[in-house]
């Protein structure tokens, strides 16, 4: 039942294939089927497809409450050639993703491997690590803002015991990104559970065979665990990528993108442009750029991983 294995074919394939010739009964079945999927289809058109298309169209205009004129690709030209804030937002967003994504995979997989052993109390650890991942949003940001408070935060107080002077976590454009990374890694518990499910699905014979062949810990990890887990890791990486590029609340509620635009993610720039300055056309161009980045990186992930991801039971 687990569909952690990747590939649209495997996700779709479990349902019966449509028949080729359609009699009256099949036609009726088709009609009724179409009726049932309306809740998705209408919502898809109204709240995804049409706004999605509209965003592209609006990105070619200088849409604002005052009116809208078609200006061709001017927004895009301006974005790439004459908008330092855009590049700042790109930089911040990429630095964050490059820090967070590898760390979340390493931490998630590492913790899952530790928990994939038999010992008393393993369930307690699972609960503890999973608990923070049900928490999100503003309350979590408020909580962390006091953990990292310059004077009274527990982190700086603890560092003080070690003789380290207080670090201006939220007052420095250098430290604010690490703080948001840590804040996000707090929610890694859901990935741990996914990796744990994957690890438990690896046949023990593989480990026995590796052990008979005299493989050590690292060799076993490289040659058994990693290949068997690769589809799950890829899926987690892609989902993480899509989500991470959209990160907003964490920075907006923490520092409003500051200090000094140090946590000014692309999402914040889109928000400010659209809802602060009411330059809706330009905001759409920025959001299309965000979409293009996500799309091309997802494609890249799949392309690079094609040779490196192992699908048990996949046909050549």
């Amino acid at each position: 039942m687990s569909t952690t294995r990747l590939g649209m074919e495997t996700m779709v394939g479990a349902a019966r294939r449509p028949r080729r010739t359609a009699g009256p009964l099949q036609r009726r079945e088709a009609r009724v089927g179409w009726l049932w999927i309306q809740p998705w289809l209408i919502g898809f058109l109204a709240f995804t497809a049409i706004p999605f298309g509209a965003a592209f169209v609006m990105s070619l205009t200088n849409w604002s409450p005052a009116g809208a004129e078609f200006i061709g690709f001017d927004n895009y030209v301006r974005m790439f050639t004459d908008d330092p804030l855009f590049w700042q937002a790109i930089k911040v967003t990429f630095v964050f993703v490059l820090l967070y994504l590898p760390l979340s995979i390493a931490l998630g997989l590492g913790a899952a491997m530790l928990m994939n052993q038999k010992f008393v109390g393993v369930g307690v650890f699972r609960t503890i690590y999973y608990l923070p991942s049900v928490l999100s949003g503003v309350a979590v940001v408020v909580l962390w803002s006091f953990v990292f408070h310059r004077e009274f935060g527990v982190v700086n107080l603890a560092l003080g015991y070690l003789g380290i002077p207080p670090i201006p976590w939220l007052q420095s454009s250098f430290w604010v990104i690490p703080v948001i990374v840590i804040m996000q890694l707090w929610g890694v518990g859901a990935s741990i559970i996914i990796y744990l499910g994957g690890l438990q699905g690896i046949p023990t014979e593989l480990y026995e065979a590796a052990s008979l062949d005299g493989a050590g810990w690292w060799r076993t990890f490289r040659s058994v665990t990693l290949p068997m887990m690769s589809p799950i890791i890829l899926l987690q990486a892609v989902i993480g990528l899509i989500g991470t590029f959209q990160i907003f609340t964490q920075s907006f509620a923490l520092t409003r993108g500051g200090p000094d635009y140090g946590s000014y993610f692309l999402s914040l720039y889109i928000y400010d442009t659209a809802f602060g300055q009411l330059k809706l056309g330009y905001a759409c161009a920025l959001s299309v750029a965000l979409f293009a980045i996500i799309l091309s990186l997802t494609g890249l992930f799949f392309a690079v991983s094609r040779s490196r991801v192992y699908y048990a039971g996949a046909k050549d």
């Binding site: 996700m11 779709v12 349902a15 449509p18 179409w34 999927i37 979590v140 996914i194 509620a253 997802t298």
Partner: protein, 281 residues
């Protein structure tokens, strides 16, 4: 001899695991402990050094202040309304669509299903500006409608999760009911739904967390203070009371409480849902 070294090596490995996981647990629970501890202090007590994890005396004044100085009860009420309707909508819309995808054969079904899965890749940021303009045109700004109406239309994640579950219900049950003269509506209500309670629970739980914590939707669509849910209310009030840390921590703690309680009650279902979908993360 060899087996002996092997067991002792295994013992060492387990011991090291316990040490690492315990250290990690302290780091994971630390922030929550810090929040709870601070929430129960008076503003003066945060200056106390060395750190007092258990405040002396424990002060519940912040809890009272939250409901007297700040319209916290109203925030909670609004959040409850939003969350309840959001959860109801998510379960309704996605279970209908999932049934269509799982049990009927029609041309284009698999292609549509792929389209649905692909839409998970579209950032909310791309659709948000046109949606805002559209909701403005039809006069829905500063109401809950832009948040709640879309909730009643199936989302990809929920539909996918439910479809996977429906597929695991034996088709023979439907066929037996059909022979007895049941139509698709009756099969849905009397066979599929009752057998899918675990999956519906999961969708409900995940939707609960989403709507309870949702910030972006309310931030963009709501202006009137009377409509603010907790997320907006807390963010707003952090701006005003930004020196009163114990009160802020109390606000964070109270808004997290339902999520923690839900987790304590339904941990098993959360974890099952994650494993089935393999998507939440």
């Amino acid at each position: 001899m060899r087996s002996l070294t092997r067991t002792s090596r295994r013992r060492i490995a387990i011991f090291a695991t316990l040490v690492v996981l315990t250290a990690g647990s302290i780091l994971y629970l630390g922030p929550l402990g810090w929040m709870i501890s601070t929430a129960l202090k008076t503003p003066d007590q945060i200056y106390d050094l060395p750190i007092r994890w258990i405040p002396d005396p424990v002060d519940w004044g912040n809890f009272v202040e939250l409901f007297t100085e700040v319209p916290f009860a109203q925030y909670i009420g609004n959040t409850v309304v939003l969350t309840a309707l959001g959860v109801l909508g998510s379960i309704t819309g996605s279970s209908l669509a999932a049934y269509g995808f799982a049990r009927f054969r029609f041309r284009g079904r698999n292609a549509l299903f792929v389209v649905m899965l692909s839409t998970m890749m579209i950032p909310v940021w791309v659709t948000i500006v046109p949606s805002y303009v559209f909701f403005g045109e039809i006069g829905w700004l500063d109401t809950y409608l832009p948040i709640l109406v879309p909730a009643f239309f199936a989302t990809p994640f929920n539909t996918f999760l439910l479809r996977q579950f429906f597929l695991s219900i034996p088709q023979e049950l439907d066929e037996a009911a059909r022979i007895d003269g049941a139509g698709s509506v009756r099969i849905f209500f009397q066979i599929i739904l009752p057998l899918s309670v675990p999956a519906l629970m999961m969708v409900g739980l995940f939707s609960f967390l989403f709507f309870w914590n949702d910030y972006l939707g309310p931030l963009i669509y709501l202006q009137s203070q009377e409509l603010y849910p907790l997320s907006l209310g807390v963010a707003n009030f952090v701006g005003t009371y930004n020196q009163n840390y114990p009160l802020m921590m109390m606000a964070a703690m109270v808004s997290m409480l339902p999520c923690i309680a839900l987790f304590a009650i339904a941990q098993k279902w959360f974890m099952q849902g994650i494993v089935i979908s393999g998507v939440k993360g």
